[in-house]
Structures are given as structure tokens and as C-alpha cells.
Amino acid sequence: MNRILGALGRAPAWGPPLVVLVAMLVAIEVMRPGSLSMSRLQIEASEAMTLIFIAAGQTIVVLRGGIDLSVGGTLSLATAIAATRTETATFAELLPWLVVILVIGVLIGVINGALVSGLQLQPFVLTLATWSIVSGIALVILPINQSSVPPAWFEAGNATVLDLVPVPILLLLLLLGWWAWFRRTRGAFRIRAAGSDERGAFLNRVSLTRTNLAAYAMSGFFAALAGLFFASQTGSGSPVVGTQFVLPSIAAVVIGGTSLAGGRGGILGTVIGALILNQIADVIFLVGLSSYWQQVASGLILVGVVLLAPLLAVAAERTRRTMPGPA
């Protein structure tokens, strides 16, 4: 048992959550045979993609040692613009709007990063403020609770590329491919270094400002992308929808094994964390509990994973070759 725990602790940060996710999928398959079919998994992935995107951006900010609450506002704003400004019929006409909305997301991120660095504000407080401001702008643009987006959005989001890969799966693969590359770049090392130890990073010639700008810009980009995806899946925009994704985005990051202290973790873990959160509803339903229990279960899993991580680290330390001397 200790050997197994030790091996898990030495595995990458996404190891333990992957075990949890697989266990959940197996449990679902046992309770409802046929659940692990390809089409079913595609549906699951599509459902989870909005959370996956917003949490992917959150991961990068957390690796930098910050936190980005404004992603909720950015997501809402993206759907609000999609619902009110993109009165076009064809996909080709949508493309410029895609770019515009993503650029707006990046700009919001750049403003966050500049203010965090320039004013030396706590990221939590600053992004709480920008969350409020951006949400307000979303309400100004779309002053009703919900509005449909032009059908072209829906078609784009549910297309199958080359009659082979559905758009959500394609996006997920693109995200994971991008991350597999980006995590090994100097830029990612600098972001992690700055998140791990700002003083050490500075002495290693890392610009604390530029890493902040990059991390929050990516977070803004992914939040806007999450908004676009949400609009394309539901066919609607809403100036308030982002709020319900803010806390889950952080939960997915933590469940995925990324340290809130910065420097450690990655998007692969976050994707697994988001899928876990997404599966909870299914498990609750299959067990026969009311769906109100979903949030209780999410909380318990969050606490469980956070408690498990240090235990695994200790087990890994024990199985490592014994080294005397003060640690």
C-alpha cells in the first residue's frame, strides 16, 4: 500500500486526480452500462469544455502565483457581445467577431496584469474589482438575462471537422497539444519561476511585470474563448452566466494538482479536474440523490484532493532513498 502511495506521490501532479476520474468513470459504467461509449464521452467533453477553457487560463495565472476572478466577467462579456453585435448569417462573417472578442479578452487580461504589477495590488482584490467592472459592462451591452445568438454560432460549435472530429474534441486536442508545447518553453519556465519565488526569479533575470502581463493575458484569452464556446453550445448569451464558472475554475485547478502557492502544476491536471467536477452530477444522479447534493459532493472532493496531495508527498518522500540530515 505504501509503495502504491509512494508511486502516486512521485507521479506528476495530475496522477492522483486521473485516478479519481477513472474511478468515477468506472463507477458510472457499472451503474449505467454503455456510459463509456465514444458518443457519450463526446457529450461529456462538450459539456465540460467551457469550464476547461476558463480553468486553463486560471491555471496559468495560478502558476504565476496569482488568481483571476475577472474571468467570470470576461466570459459573460464574450457571450453578450456574441448575442448582440454579431448579426450575421454565415460562418465566414463570424470570423472577424471571433477575433475581436478574443482580443477584448486579451486586453482585459493585460489590464489586470498591468495593474497587479504596476500598483502592487493583491491579485484577489484587483480581479474582484475588474470582475465587477467587466460584468457591469456585459450588463450594459446585454441588459436582459438571456438572449439567443445568431444560428451561425450554434452551427460552428457543433460542426464536425472533415466529417471526423467534432469541434469540442478538436478544441480539447488543440488545447492539450498547445500545452504540451508551451509548458516546455522558456516563457512557461519564467512564469513558473516567478510564481514559485518572485525574488529568486528576479535574480534570475525574469521580468515580474512581463510574466504577469503574459499570464493574465492568456487567462483573459481563455475566458473569452470559454464565452465563445458557451455561446456556440447553448445558442445563447447571458450577461451573468460567467459568475457560475468562477469558483469551479479555481476548484478545477486545485483538484488538478496545481498549487495555489504558484509554480507547480499544469493544464493537463486542470482538464482532469474540470472533467471530475463535470462527472459529479452524473454520479449523484446515478446514486439516486437529489441534484442539490452536487455542490456538497464537489466541496467534499475538493477537500479530499487537497488533503490527499500532502499525504502522497510524504509517502513519496518515505519511499525515496533515505537521506540523513536536516531537510
Binding site: G200, P324, G325
Partner: protein
Amino acid sequence: MDDAPQLQAEAITKRFGGIVALDQMHFAAAAGEVHAILGENGAGKSTFIGILAGAVRADEGRVTVGGRPYLPLSPVDAAAAGIATVLQELSLIPDLTVAENVWFGSEDLTPLRTVDRRRIEARTRALFSDLGLPGIDPGTPLRSLSLGQRQLVEIAKALSSNARILILDEATSALLPAQVDWLLRTARARADAGALVLYISHRLAEVRRIADRVTVLRNGQTVGTEAMADLADGEIVSMMLGRRLVSLYPARVATATDRIALQVDAFTVAPRLHDVDFALHEGEILGVAGLEGHGQREMFLGLFGAIRAHGQVSIGGRPVTIRSPRHAMSAGIGMVLLPEDRRQQGLLLTKTVRENLVLSALGKVARFGVIDPRAEAAMVERGMQRTQVKADTPEQLAGTLSGGNQQKVVLAKLLETGARILLFYDPTRGVDVGTKAEMFTMMRDLAANGYAILFYSTDLAELANVADRTLVLSYGSVSSVLAGADVTEDRILAATMAGGARGAVVPAGSIA
């Protein structure tokens, strides 16, 4: 040695708020020499190093490197000017691997512009074997290395750049003797090859072995630069301290009584400490010596109840089982631990001296759960006086005090609990010579007042001059008990070797 200065600093002034850290300081050193910079904490050494490393900007003055003006705005400029620094507080990133740390910012890239892990690990292996530094796997995450190993990595990183100016700031603080020898040899080789090595250390013996010349700073000013061979240790110390020259060690007056304060039998902390027996008397300072990793840490933490231990412990003749640090500090036991790392263990840097002092004895100054300001003020005054804390007011933030004064606040706080058995675990690490002298005097005073003191130090000279008796730990057991001046580096090393029969424990990170 080339006579034109490779590094020259003139009239450097740096203020932090109202405090003048450097005051018209000047400095010159030539290529090919090892130049030591000495001074008490607060003398301005760190600020000067910070300016050279590009981490701090001077307010006034000018620096030239190789005759050309040098005005670093950031560490980027320092690297460009050929200056590499090993900092006391390491600049490594715990979440990256050894190789990623060594080559940070100059990594080899694959065609996809990602960091080429295999290549940097191979280069790290080559670097380590060039430097004669085996035993550290380049792929290990830095956080799983011991402090000493991290220090070696930081040194290797600085050496990797073949810098014109190599700055070693307390680079040996966590190294084993063999590793210190290695560093001194390597630094000398770099100087012989034409580099300028700046060597900063609190350990005078090391400085004497390596330095050609020495510059002494005091209160932000340069006292003087002399050839090392021309100065006796006493002269160096008096240059550092100015006119208030005191002997570093107080006279050793035997104050030990025959009343046993702490009796320990068959004390074991698996797997690093076995069957240790000793008796600590009231009024006695009992030294503990040993190379890093030979069980002293386990002994102190085990006695203090911080880690699980086995064996018989008696306090004042009464058998006790100490369950936790809280239990150890309680009235029935009366034992406190003064740790080596003030920041991590014991001091709240962002709180005032007053708040720190009363923290562990709040019950004594409170009535019905509310703090009585008069009782509090009395306790604070008594505490600051007892350990001679140098602070402007009790409202000064602990973080703004010098290292030695922080240590005194911690001690004052611990004494407030009424403890009579004091465990001092390497209390002088990183403490300057003046404060050390005050601490030793204070320890002798405490002993004279009947306190029983167990004192571990990595500096054997301190044990030889302060402790009444010294236990030498070797591979987890007591290999000998030496009295007073019999405690020498040679004797302890010999005692350590003698105890080496037990094969279970191997000292960490030794240089083959």
C-alpha cells in the same frame, strides 16, 4: 596579480528610508585576487553585494568594472558585465529541476523552441564532473535537495558562467567541511585563472585560508583594506567592531551544580539517533557537536517533543514523557527550544517586538481574557532588558531588526514562559560577531542563574570556548564527551570517524 583595479567603487551611498546602509563607501579589488569583505550584520556588506548583483540601485557614487562605468539596473546587466553571484539566500527556484536552475535563461532549445531537457541535463552532468561535484542528479526537483546540496547547485550555477567577477556571499553556511575545502580550492583556481573573487563569510578561519586581501566595513563605511597576512584575528575583529572591542567569548566560570536538570537514558529517535545517555546539570552549558546529519537535529527535536522519540527522560529527577512542544514548554517541564531559523520558527516578522514578546505568555498579562496594558508593558520591558534587545521602541517591527536582535527577541519570549532548560540549536548561524559575543555572555549569565543549557553549534570554536562539556555525536550515538578546550575540530573529526562502525547512516551529499 594585476594592479589596476578590476572592480572599483567610489563614494557609494545607499539609503533605505531613513536608514543609511552605505555611506560614501569605497572599494577596490584587482583581477586575480581573492578579496574578502568583512563586517558585522548591518555593516553594509549585503547592500554592496546587492548593488554589484543588480538587485539594489545605489543612490550616489560610481562603480567601474575593468575601468568602464558599471551601473546595473537589474541582474540582467550584472550578468552582461560578467558578474556571477552566490547569494546567502539562494536565488534558485524550488519548483524547477537542478538542470533547469543551473541553465535558467540560457537553456538549449529544441527546433520547436522548447527547452531541451536532455541537453541541459547532459551539460549539467558535464559541469558537475568538471567541477568535481558528483552525486546530484540534474533531473531532481530542487525542492527535494538538502540545504547543503542546494548551496552546491547555486555555486555550480555561478561557476558555470566563467564570470570575471565571482561573488561568494556566505556560500559555505550549509556545507560540510570537505565541501568547504572544495569550494575554497575552486575559488582559488578561478582567481589564479584571472578572475576576481569576492569572499564574504562570518567564518574568520575560512577567510584566513582563502583571502589575499580583506576590506572591512563598519556602519556603511570602509574601515580599511589590508593584506590578510598582515592582520591578526584580533585586529580584524577590532576593525569590525570599532572601539567597542570585546572579547568574543566570556570568561568561563564554572557554575554547574550537582543538581541534575535533565537526565536522558537510552534516548532513541529512529533511524538517526540511538541510545544516547547524558545528564545536564543546573548551571551547566552542555555542548553538542557533530557533522551535519549525525543525529543532533533529531536529538533536539526529539527532546522538545516535536518528533517521536523513545527512551527515559527525567526532569529534576522526575520521569516524564514529553508529548509535544506545547507540553515541553508547560510549567511541569519548563523546556524551550531556540531554533536556528528565526524566520520560519518562532518570530513573526511583521509584528512588533512587543507583540512577539508577549505572544507565548499572553495568559500572564491578561485578566478575564483581556490584556492588561500595564502588566504587558512590564513584561515587555523585563524581556527586552533581560536579553538586551536593541530596538528603538517596543513598537518596532521584528522584521526590521538585525538577525542577532531577532534572535534575542525569540529568546526573551521563550524565557517569559518560565522555562529552566534551554535547548539552543545552532543559535549563532548567520549572526554577526558583536551579537555573538553578547549571546555568549548572556548564555553564561543564564547558566550562572541556574538555567541548564544544551547548546549545539556548527562552529566548533564556539563549543570549545563556551560549553563546559561537549558531547560528540557520531552516526547517531555519543562517541565521546570532551571538556572545554579539548573540543577542537580535529578531535571532533576523529571522534566522528571513530563512531563510524554503524553502517546504517551515511552523511548526506559528501564530496567523494
